[in-house]
Symmetry: C2
Subunit: 334 residues, 2 copies
């Protein structure tokens, strides 16, 4: 086992941060002192780690030179304000916000070799949950297919937007079932029993930040900088677990037998047979793997591979990947 | 106004059939005698039409030579058993099941010219709700784009599967919110707060019947028999209103200005501006148009057009289209 490492988790009271602290414990990450940090509003509470209560302190006054590694799970604004400060203090940063322009996107199942090239302290992005799921599923297929285009429709769970979004879906649903008038708060309209065509605001070209992030990160993770990726991210009334409908366009016929074999062999993939299919609730949520199902050709198109992916957006898609990146960093560099 | 026509509606007690009877009244369809029919289990009840109660009778014993036009809205089994019998009796059939192999798929906004070529009595399919929505949205764009491929991810409402499916989503949701154990009945697993990767069973190639139907009907409606269409239909926990994420691959750059203009000009389309987007609940449900939003290029791909469609699956997607086809038939042929 490696030498214990002093670590900071920023955003420790949020959905991803809480899960991340749990996973550090579950995976027996060699933690020396654990510093739990949050913005002013969330500081003061306590979080359990390894049988002890750890007090959550304000990130503003933290001296990052005390730690070697920091996980940023507090959202874009906090990452923008404090990640480069931490990095300048000599601390390697694993950021979950996607806000750090020069950070290297890492998914151990897809591009572990990138760790060798990092200068220390490292600046790393743990990609969006959709990009993690896609990278895990497509990395084993890269050698099998001459990929021309990847088309993705991601149906995202509300929990990616935090605990308030989870509460809002529950509250709206209860109000509707009780025939009470609906007053949207967190979302700008009804999310219960509805589908929202976009997640967050869109830019002048009509793309949302999660869509742009997915394209950028997936290209980096697969080391295919010119890959054509079409993406639509929509918000579905699901608490936990993202679902992705994926069509991979290949330049030649797709050998489904070989695809199934490669997916079956991948350690982080649970392949579901053709007479069944995985769903977020009941399969993916709480699990450490990406579920893959509905493996098929396109209708009248042997050059197209269709897949259905589902994954725990807080766990495999976020907290677990970040900790696994930490393990990789620890093994090779720190 | 045309001469009143004696008409039969089969499946009059189902979700689509009920809506169809309402729409016949709303649109002042020239109905002489209205015969409401259903399978044995549903016969005996009454449905209101034009201020009068109309008794629903058994389809088995009905003499179809009494009517000139029959709407089949009772599902595949009933259409298979009785549609050709009705046709043989000299009655034009507008079928909503997609089960009649030699029927002509018709959406008045897409291929109205097909009516002229029909031999009477006519055998017509009112296509699936997804195919209707796609045909309405893509027909005005056919002349503008050199379409290479259409990629569709359809998030379908449970109501397409009937009243029992609607009740099951409500029941499951209430049980979960009350922390009672969940016992799936209509669906084979949890649909509340979940996404199911397929709608109905899949064949040996992994495609569901709704996916195959969509491809076949859309090719016919757009008169593009070799069009490449990729499709995934998934089941979302939404009562009413289908949502479609669409990517149209063109052989040249897409002129978004011209696309917006063509969509804006189409009578059956409500185009939603880029700073907003339509949703099934709140926009499409109860309306007679297809809502189109999120009109944009692909990321780094001016040859790709992305769209978001949402439509009332029972109304515009089914009952309304069937009645509008009836109007077209009446105007030109009957």
């Amino acid at each position: 086992m490696s030498q214990p490492l002093d670590i900071a988790v920023i955003g420790a009271t949020g959905s991803v941060g809480e899960t991340l602290v749990q996973i550090l414990e579950e995976l027996e990450f060699p933690v020396g002192t654990l510093h739990l940090l949050a913005s002013m509003e969330s500081a003061g509470s306590s979080v359990m780690f390894a049988g002890k209560k750890v007090r959550v302190r304000e990130v503003d006054s933290f001296d990052f030179s005390q730690v070697k590694l920091a996980f940023f799970a507090a959202g874009p604004a906090v990452s923008r304000s404090f990640a480069s400060k931490a990095h300048a203090a000599g601390c390697s940063v694993i950021d979950l916000s996607g806000e750090l322009e020069h950070a290297v996107a890492l998914v151990p199942e897809a591009n572990p070799e990138q760790v060798a090239g990092l200068s220390l302290p490292a600046l790393i992005t743990s990609p969006s949950a959709s990009a993690v799921a896609l990278a895990v599923a497509l990395a084993p297929l890269k050698g099998l297919l001459d990929i021309e285009r990847v088309q993705v429709m991601a149906s995202l769970a509300v929990s990616a937007q935090g605990k308030e979004a989870v509460g809002e879906l529950a509250r709206q649903t209860a109000e509707l079932l009780n025939a009470r008038p609906l007053e949207p708060r967190f979302f700008d309209r009804q999310i219960a029993f509805n589908v929202l065509a976009q997640v967050g605001a869109v830019d002048a070209h009509g793309h949302s930040a999660v869509e742009r992030r997915l394209v950028k990160e997936l290209r980096a993770l697969l080391d295919m900088p010119a890959l054509k990726i079409s993406v639509s991210c929509v918000q579905v009334p699901v608490f936990f677990g993202d679902s992705l409908s994926v069509a991979v366009q290949s330049r030649g016929p797709v050998d489904l037998g070989a695809v199934n074999q490669a997916l079956e062999a991948a350690a982080s993939i649970e392949l579901v047979e053709a007479d069944d299919y995985p769903t977020p609730v009941g399969d993916a949520v709480g699990q450490d793997v990406v579920y893959v199902g509905r493996v098929r050709h396109g209708i009248d198109e042997p050059e197209q591979l269709n897949l259905w992916l589902t994954t725990d957006n807080l766990r495999k898609g976020a907290a677990l990947n970040a900790v696994q990146v930490g393990q990789l960093l620890l093994k090779h560099r720190l």
